[in-house]
Symmetry: D2
Subunit: 141 residues, 4 copies
């Protein structure tokens, strides 16, 4: 893993829970946590200067290859959650993150996702050494 500037490794995204995120039990449906993690990734990408819209425009996509989540405390509509993303692995072929979801001072969930780089056709690709995204992630790996 390259030697990243500390602020490239982490990002905190604050989100307001939508009413439609909750399920019939009145708490957020577990599937929706993965949508928040995604928002945290988009926020991280924007913060490091590579908005996902810009990456996808030049044919670089980062689909989820594996994901997992542990649910520790329920979250309800209209609450705010902080999703803290931490980069846990990065190479020219893939990238991985872990997450802590906090709500009102308590840890609501921990999670992890891994991603491959693929092109618009969905084919795995390696970032070139000169790729601006790789330049940001660091070349000291």
């Amino acid at each position: 893993m390259p030697a990243l500037a500390p602020d490239v490794r982490t990002h905190v995204e604050t989100l307001r829970v939508r009413y439609s995120d909750a399920d019939a039990q009145g708490i957020v449906h577990h599937s929706n946590y993965f949508r928040w993690l995604e928002e945290a990734r988009l926020g991280w990408l924007a913060a490091i200067g590579h908005p996902y819209a810009a990456l996808t425009r030049r044919g670089l996509f980062m689909p989820v290859t594996t994901c997992s989540c542990r649910f520790l405390a329920p979250v309800r509509a209209e609450e705010c959650v902080d999703v803290r993303l931490t980069l846990t692995a990065v190479s020219r072929a893939r990238v991985a993150f872990k997450y802590a979801v906090r709500c009102g001072g308590r840890l609501a969930a921990t999670a992890a996702t891994a991603h491959a780089y693929v092109n618009a056709a969905g084919r795995p690709m390696r970032l070139t050494r000169g790729d601006p995204f790789w330049q940001t992630l660091g070349t000291a790996a």
Copy 2:
């Protein structure tokens, strides 16, 4: 409106309500009815020989321009709903439908949607007279 064969004008799509369709009140969230209407349109398109995937592959999209729904009785997870679609207007530039959503013998909702034909760039387009989709919809308009 062209003289359509009766069976081109209507279609019934049966769907099972997902648990994740329900909201914090335990009944289906109103936004999800529009997703069922969409499934009814896809079922209709497939039934008349023009699956939406085939239309979009050749650059013909049918985004919703207006939609409305009246909710008459709640629907719950695991119930089955019948969505009866009826074509209400069609031209070489647009198409419109009405719907009746039934659940367990009761009328749960009525709805309507209108759609424009657009190309992959989102620009409005007119179907040519020879367009196979128009041929099916009828040229006697």
Copy 3:
């Protein structure tokens, strides 16, 4: 309709579009606009001192009875939208709103919803004259 203070009649809610709000065409799925309208209602309720969580805790629910939307310009992931809500009708049995959804200076959609007051069992109910929510909405109707 009661004589409401001007700031009780309107509310603007700013939302960031989620990546998962978009559909296979890369633009926001039409059903998700109704989820934004709902967030605007929740924001309005909180702003006038009656958070929806507090209303539902005392058995007052406001399900959607009718809704409609006109889509004028596409919206994409990561964009921000302003949903301007305006109260258009209110009584002790129901309430209605209209909405303008703006994105980057352009009008993306206009919409309307109507709601009945119901209890936890889903039965229609009338607000009493002394109900705090009705007191806020105004008794000069």
Copy 4:
């Protein structure tokens, strides 16, 4: 784990992918796989004589405590998927499953979920030895 009848341990649920399950890349959003897994659990519960609606009516809920998924091949709107559920662990306090999601003959994803039994207030609970659900799952554990 109790000695279950073989047909209590597995269940196959067939689902049609909704257009609104897909994301801006045209393939199913990873979060939606968890909604399919849930449908497979509901189908399994119904098949073994304990529909989830009946369980929750008597105050028995099974929220997800952990979940994970590995994505192997993309799935698109209008495709059908088979979700094969296998019970992997069961006790009077919790239950766990693994899943294989197949689409058109290929393995699209593998997944796992774990669940606690909780009451309507969200408090963990143990099934009594005489609980009908436990009777079905087996008491030979």
